[in-house]
Symmetry: D2
Subunit: 426 residues, 4 copies
């Protein structure tokens, strides 16, 4: 199924009057605040977020999975699903593959298919946390950190293979997330484990094409419940610096201990010029993988505040990998992704409204009350009309979620693929 | 210093045009959603929040205090400070006293003074967590839970005395917050401690005038760091039920373990008809006592969602005690309270915009995506114009914080009271 | 495979001399402290812990499963595995079944088999968090809390069926753990959900045989990540009281928010005469399901301190359900269970060494230093010899884990059952 | 008051027989395990822990202070109090001063006094989190991070002054703990704040004498409740590396977010050769400053496991600063320090019992069960007799706490100094 331009046009026609009124009001308000609305819109248009191939089916918890039907069971179908999202939102112009869940067989055909949706191949992801059929050694006790050199070699080789797939598809980066760790005190020697991971990552880094980047993700716990070899940003940075200039840190919003100030980590990594990208999601407890913006929208705004501050101070956009990494147990995965995209864009738009000169001045004077007022004034502004306008200008739907439902998209997908199709992933 | 009506009028005149435009737009939007804006405004007007007498000076951490100057050192000055806030915001029509930090000497004069500000005396608060000069027994090892009956008796007597002060001032409730607990395993017998507290609270409850209520506050840690006798809502409810119908639970937003779902606790206590009131503040880590709405505005909105749902389903307002309980280390305390009032009212107004019929219908169908949309649509709406309108209609300032600053309020207070005046409190 | 008495005898012979020396020293030390060692031993002998049928195979995280081989794939094999553990440790004289993972077909034959191992059938566990083949309605959006009455009825009927299985096997209790909850704000109405669960539990409770008990388990999150309908002990107690005298609260050590004082909850529930039993495990972060005693042995000791205090003050043993609930991803499950049993018994034995008269006296005097000394003196004592002695006196192995390995138990099980057998469970 | 050798001798005489019996049994057990008991004893004798000058009086929470009487109000009295502890325990051979709470006036006299107690001057501590009388600029909004250069200069100058005091006393290191941070989003620019702190620390580092070291402490929150400029080990390491070879990281056990794996941080910093020292204490929730070993003794053991592993692999002792940093609200401070010293030494002794060759071998084979057994076998061993033996061999008391009480130490101190003497500190 594809979302045809005509149904978008019909949808927008119904919505346009109400939208014009709201956008016009917002525009007039922004003008009074000397915000260049057209620039905000252009930035929103340019801001494309990658959809992970494993987020297109129903996710599971360890207690079970509840399928929704019509899930994409081939890579082609996954690309088509991203195509639906991108057609509606005009903000999901990339897909991020996970090997071996998505082995691209005919790369040329895949690239052609993706091109018809105007979708690029973003970061490729390796997997050394599960055993595959016909795999020589098990990752039960680790991969890049393993005490047994043969297993480290196997895991390194897998990463190099993933890079090869990525090259064929036009990707220019690889994300390494390791489940490596220990569930019991004494199980592993922390230092040896870290040294093994450092050496393994150096090998992968050395094999990167010159224009590629490697992202090193951190996570404090799960699936290991005593320690993870890369538990925090400090370890990720230490490893990235130990690898060299093409190694970067990746921040998954759900990978932090309770009460962590994530925006401060973002700021520090930006300052060190080692922030490589994001996995967006939201959470209450741990790696809950909930819809972006569904739980702590103000925190998300504060993270974008750091990003926009960096962009504005450097005069240029940092070359970051933006990706959603959520798991959709209860919602239609495509609906969930549309909501996540909206959550991200709202936070980004709000952050662009912050009056930075005034903020700096208030910070300079330690005027804490006014600092808060300036941030909250941006956050309290209803920016949804400007996001709709950005979609409208690029051919997307004014209300992507409504149109998704009006078009009976899920029903069509079930008709095409059946109720029992299962997407690979967690 | 008093905020004269004339300066409010002058301030509002400058702001009125811009306000009218924003309110008119919001009104038209709400009308399309069948929201009765006048009812929302009336509810906001009726919604008065008590200011605690101890929040009017600079708060301290255990690492020190930084005074701001012009702090109120008498109860009369404290009432005058609340008067300033109420004149500006028209939403702080009550003061909550803390005994013995505020011993009301001449109650009639105090009531007259308060009446000139249109301020009532809300809940009175007892203090058995500090030793006072001339106190016979120390509370070092507890009060209502103490192993020594004489100390329990002393603490009960103090509470009865606080009720007497409250009666004289026209209060109708007392809040009991206990620091009682233990900092080390083994220090106390959990069961004996809880039984002592239950028996002590029963004595206080028995002494309440018929129209009075007693609020039992809970807190998981600090100042005791191993256990508190009333650590959570479950214990608070158990004690309230053990006392009788005039005993209620009080929720301080900062008194929870990391990641607690506070809105669910609110819902459960509402269902049990035992929610007595709130201490509003915000926090990242523990009992941080930060400005309401400064950290987790969405959570605050979700709490008000429960309150509004209860009001709408019962057709009447629950008789709740609404109070701010924050500690202002870095901001001007009066500015901070104005910001807290605004944060509370924004959350309340947003919650009134939720379309409950649609929400119930989406919940009935397990349409999780739409449930989220409905809540977030309300939360994303910029309700500030309607809050300003509520103030405007009752003679308050369109922008209380701006006017507070324009009027050089703090400077006047310093001139009146000096730089070194210190308010009682933490 | 069975552990024959003869190999235990051979094993013990090698160990007996060293054991005698250690036990003799410990005995003399305890005598000086007026501890009745024989009574401690008898209590240890009487203290039997149920093994859950789902802990006998390799557990999984949502990221994958790594099988160990020789896993029990039938209920008979599971009983035999518990038989191995019990033969070695003489402390695992019960098995707890999970329906529908273990449907007992021929109950008489199962009872006979269990009797040959001297094993009883403990609490039966229902499952309404997963969908089974041929199930009419899905539990995707809940079970006892579901908005749709038909699904609540189905879930109630399942519980009644589980009770029937339990009656046939000689069980006298059922544990209800619900995954019911919501992953997003707004998804559910907290109050309606709780009322539905209350009514459903009342129906199950009403159907209990007179000598049966129902345990209501609580958990703050997972698999739902915004709210669980029974998140904490307070809600569990509220529901148990709403059901009646055969409803009790069950404490799973891993089901708490960070930093929760679990021993205080245990004390409060004991005081309310509503503590029904335990699921033992250990954890760093959440429901990690690690080996009991592997992470926080002092906390476990403090929990047993409450239990022993209750026993000693009541002069009788509370009728509690003791069960391990762990998930063994990296260890041989049987080894892990043997370690868990040891961890539990160490904590229990240590708690029996506490001098309660001295502790009460120190508490009475608020002698905090001495209170700590008394607890830590018991905790620092090396009680392993007395635990070995209790095993020795009942025909168990002095070192169960060593003997398990010497006997090549896992290798035998793999030979019997193959490498690919998979046990039902998470 | 001084603890005379004669009363120690008398005390030991009463205890010696029982001790000999226990030590002899433990010695024989260790011998069987090929542990060199004499080496363990010698290591314990060599292991001296600094007492902070501010831990000798009753600590306070922000809710109040309860004095104990006899508190040391001069630096001389503080040295004498450490003298009492050291005489009893022979393990507290150093004092750590805090400027300006302890301004050493006559350094020669102080050194002589300390020498009579056999006490050295350990790390000196600066204080830029409180305002002192006659201080030109306030630290209300920070110190080394302040937006105003004059305030940064003032704070740097204070640190240089502290180093001067330290030189005069024979110290060779300074600990910098900063309260610098922000309590509200937007209050500070994270990057500018961090850059200011980096530059300020570089200035202090540059002024260090060649044989001096600077320790950079981290803390996630309190007294600032939104962000701290140095919140975690990663930031501390980044700053230390930015300063140079005499800058090191300092780990305070209470300065971590919930569930942090502290021993892993210790291992990583040891691997990076940047671990400078410790502040020992224990905690349930945050910076609770409880007695070392009173809450999580197993975690403390795991931390010492890393330290001993490092010592054994390097063949030499890392030059670490060992210090207690606790706050004694409810216990007699001296009793509390004696308990803390005992807790530390127990963990250290246990860690020396770990059979490292066996542990490495089990780790090599991923034998998780055995890894746990090896650690827990050491932890379960009752090592108290060997700690007593170490004290006995150096003239300390077999039971320091008992003797402290038998000698009516606190009563003597009260007689000397009065009930109202107050020690400087928190």
């Amino acid at each position: 199924m594809r979302i045809e331009k005509s149904i978008i046009a019909t949808h927008n026609e119904k919505k346009i009057e109400s939208h014009r009124e709201q956008f016009s009001f917002l525009g007039s308000q922004l003008e009074k605040k000397n915000v260049n609305a057209d620039q905000v819109i252009q930035n929103l248009i340019d801001f494309q977020i990658a959809i992970p191939s494993w987020a297109l089916g129903s996710g599971a918890t360890r207690f079970g999975r509840f399928s929704i039907g019509g899930e994409p069971s081939t890579l082609e179908e996954k690309i088509n699903d991203v195509g639906i999202i991108h057609a509606l939102t005009k903000s999901a112009g990339a897909i991020s593959l996970h090997i071996p869940w998505d082995i691209p067989e005919d790369t040329e055909a895949l690239k052609e298919l993706a091109a018809t949706h105007n979708i690029e191949f973003d970061t490729v992801n390796s997997n050394t946390f599960q055993d595959q059929e016909n795999q020589e050694y098990s990752y039960k006790f680790g991969s890049l950190n393993h005490m047994d050199e043969r297993i480290r070699k196997q895991a390194i080789a897998h990463n190099l293979e993933v890079i090869e797939y990525g090259i064929a598809l036009g990707s220019t980066s690889i994300t390494v997330w390791l489940a490596d760790g220990a569930s019991f005190p004494g199980q592993a020697d922390f230092r040896i484990a870290l040294q093994h991971v450092q050496a393994s990552l150096q090998e992968i880094h050395a094999a990167l094409p010159a224009d590629w980047r490697m992202f090193i993700e951190y996570k404090p716990y799960e699936p290991n419940f005593y320690s993870m070899v890369i538990p925090d940003w400090g370890t990720s940075l230490l490893l990235a610096e130990g690898c060299g200039e093409n190694a970067w840190c990746l921040v998954d919003l759900g990978h932090h201990l309770p009460n962590t100030n994530i925006e401060q980590i973002v700021a520090t990594l930006l300052m060190k010029k080692k922030l490589g990208g994001f996995h967006f999601n939201d959470s209450n407890y741990g790696d809950d993988d909930l819809t972006v913006g569904s739980i702590r929208p103000y925190q998300l705004f504060l993270i974008f505040n750091e990003l926009v501050a960096d962009i504005e101070s450097n005069g240029s956009y940092p070359q970051l990998a933006w990706m959603i990494d959520a798991s959709h147990n209860l919602k239609d995965p495509l609906e969930d992704l549309i909501q996540s995209l909206e959550g991200i864009r709202i936070a980004y738009a709000q952050a662009m409204l912050i009056n930075r000169a005034e903020l700096e001045s208030a910070q300079q004077e330690n005027n804490v009350t006014v600092c808060q007022q300036i941030l909250q004034d941006a956050f309290r502004t209803d920016v949804r009309p400007i996001i709709r306008e950005a979609r409208l200008r690029t051919g997307g739907a004014i209300s992507p979620l409504e149109l998704y439902r009006e078009a009976d998209t899920r029903e069509h997908l079930i008709k095409e693929r059946g109720m029992k199709s299962i997407a690979s992933g967690l």
